[in-house]
């Protein structure tokens, strides 16, 4: 249960957030400049002018009306800002130990290093890390303080495309093994659904939606938030694929999905994938396989559908998994974006 009541005058508008969320994990959605970062900083105590009340699992973090406004160092809130904000004069290990909790610090340090897979980075300095690595170190540093609440500000995809979604699998692991409540700022409603039980949408400093992440979808449109995305987040176990090894298999429940080959993939480990909604094909037109031609690891599939002869290129594994052979009935779908005008 997270209750927020924050008021903070900003130059563009007044941030006025009021939400009582029956959840410990909350996604914060909304366009850039809607006050998401200001909200996190207010909760962390980094905005001296912020007034209001914050309660986490019944524990009051601040309550300015009752005169409770502790300085940031006494709030026990783990803040992971967009730019990670690592101390440049300290190496990764020293950064993670910086605010280590007195009592459980050592154990938490080990736990954080393990969950976030940063042990190979411990002796390196922040300037030598990639954006995704910095985020992981910052998250580890926050966890080691034994926080009552984690605040995560996801960097914008536009800033560093390679970084998008990178922290997500780790956040899922943190949620699974530590159970720390968190607020997660993201532009990706799919990620919100994958990690959070509740979501709020901010617009010009006000909460325009509070509810489940799925219901938040109706608030996500490109005209309102150009950065908004919805990616399908799929989490499952990797399995060894067929002989060729050109593909991997992801098992989710009883379903096995063919995923691209990944040299780092270890069968039996958990993996998280994202699938852009634009890449999902919806079809109602049945067709029939007329030929399957194997060429190395590729399979060329001849299909007759909608009165047209198509040729599709699959990997051999995919073709085997689907059991493709002459005469098999299949559905095909061609993405609109796949039609390129040539003349």
């Amino acid at each position: 249960m997270i209750e927020l009541e924050i008021a903070l005058p900003l130059s563009r508008f007044r941030l006025e957030v009021a939400a009582a969320l029956p959840a410990d994990t909350v996604a914060v959605l909304g366009p850039s400049g809607s006050g998401k970062t200001s909200l996190l900083e207010s909760i962390a105590g980094l905005r001296p002018k912020a007034a209001g009340r914050v309660t986490i699992r019944g524990e009051r973090v601040m309550d300015t009306k009752a005169g409770l406004k502790p300085p940031p160092e006494r709030r026990r809130i783990g803040y992971v800002p967009q730019d990670a904000c690592l101390f440049p004069h300290l190496n990764v290990g020293e950064n993670v130990r910086f605010g280590m909790a007195r009592r459980n610090g050592a154990a938490l340090f080990e736990e954080a290093v393990r969950i976030l897979e940063i042990s190979p980075l411990l002796d390196r300095y922040p300037a030598t890390l990639s954006g995704g690595e910095r985020q992981r170190v910052a998250l580890a540093r926050a966890i080691a303080t034994e926080p009552r609440l984690l605040l995560l500000d996801e960097p914008l995809a536009a800033v560093d495309p390679a970084l998008r979604g990178r922290i997500l699998p780790y956040l899922l692991r943190v949620r699974g093994s530590l159970g720390v409540p968190f607020l997660y700022v993201t532009h990706n409603a799919g990620e919100a659904r994958a990690v959070a039980e509740a979501a709020i949408v901010l617009r010009a400093g006000a909460v325009t939606f509070a509810g489940t992440p799925d219901a938040a979808l109706e608030m996500i449109s490109a005209d309102e938030d150009p950065e908004a995305r919805f990616d399908n987040i799929l989490s499952g176990l990797l399995e060894a694929s067929g002989a060729g090894g050109e593909n991997g298999l992801l098992r989710i429940g009883e379903t096995r999905l063919v995923v691209p080959a990944d040299p780092r993939a270890v069968p039996g480990t958990r993996a998280v994938y994202s699938v852009a909604p634009e890449d999902i094909l919806v079809s109602t037109r049945p067709g029939r396989v007329v030929s399957v031609t194997i060429a190395g690891t590729d399979a060329w599939i001849g299909i007759s559908a909608a009165g047209v002869e198509w040729t599709a290129r699959l990997t051999r594994t995919a073709s085997d998994v689907l059991g493709l052979a002459g005469g098999v009935e299949v559905w095909i779908a061609v993405k609109t974006q796949a039609f390129h005008r040539l003349g």
């Binding site: 962390a44 105590g45 980094l46 300085p71 940031p72 160092e73 709030r75 026990r76 809130i77 783990g78 803040y79 800002p81 730019d83 904000c85 101390f87 440049p88 004069h89 910086f98 605010g99 300095y125 922040p126 300037a127 030598t128 540093r141 926050a142 303080t145």
Partner: protein, 226 residues
């Protein structure tokens, strides 16, 4: 009275400059840190006052100190009652050089503190550091080059202080006569050769100190680049 040797003059000068620098170091770092975190009119006023010794004639600063410390002055009366004698002793040399060197320590140190990303300081607070710990664990380690460069500048300024020193400490061989004062005196009595010997020594020391300061400020360690 026998004239003191070059070596004893050099020793006196180094000792006085070192004590003066050590004396202003904590105050200067504190002032630089506070100034770097402030904004507004109060800060501009404080900065202007702190920089005055840089631009005023050193003899003017010396005279002000003399008025302050003389038996009829506000501070002098108190010191007199406590039995502390400052004027025309080596302590006066320390005081004069300390006052004159102070701005040279504060300015580079302040700039170095100002260059620290404020978000790093906020982050340190959020990670459990009180204001003093923030200074000790983040601000000072990130600004040490500027602080060191300011310290070296202040020290080299202290070595060569003349105007304020002669006003409140006089030019007493063996007691308050530093290199700068001895050069003046030797030239005055026509011992240019002896004065030039001291000049050579001061050139070597000043060169070394400023050179070190330049190297320290120029070289940015790879890891603090972001």
């Amino acid at each position: 009275m026998e004239a003191p040797s070059d070596a004893s003059i050099l020793l006196l000068t180094l000792r006085v400059a070192a004590i003066a620098t050590l004396l202003i170091l904590p105050i200067g770092i504190f002032a630089a840190w506070r100034l770097s975190r402030r904004a507004g009119a109060g800060r501009t006023l404080a900065e202007t006052l702190l920089s005055l010794p840089l631009v005023l004639p050193p003899t003017a600063v010396g005279l002000l100190l003399l008025e302050l410390l003389s038996r009829s002055g506000p501070l002098g009366r108190l010191l007199d009652r406590l039995g502390i004698e400052i004027l025309f002793t080596w302590k006066a040399v320390v005081l004069a050089t300390a006052v004159m060197s102070f701005p040279l320590l504060v300015r580079p140190a302040r700039t170095a503190f100002e260059e620290i990303e404020p978000r790093l300081l906020a982050m340190a607070r959020s990670l459990g550091c009180g204001p003093i710990a923030v200074f000790r664990r983040v601000a000072l380690p990130l600004a040490w080059r500027g602080v060191l460069s300011g310290t070296l500048l202040a020290f080299s300024r202290a070595l060569g202080e003349f105007g304020a020193t002669i006003m409140i400490a006089g030019n007493i061989p063996g007691r308050t006569q530093t290199m700068a004062l001895a050069i003046f005196q030797r030239t005055h009595i026509g011992r240019d050769d002896a004065a030039l010997r001291l000049v050579a020594i001061t050139v070597v020391i000043a060169f070394t100190v400023v050179w070190t300061s330049e190297i320290v400020t120029r070289r940015r360690s790879r890891r603090s680049e972001t």
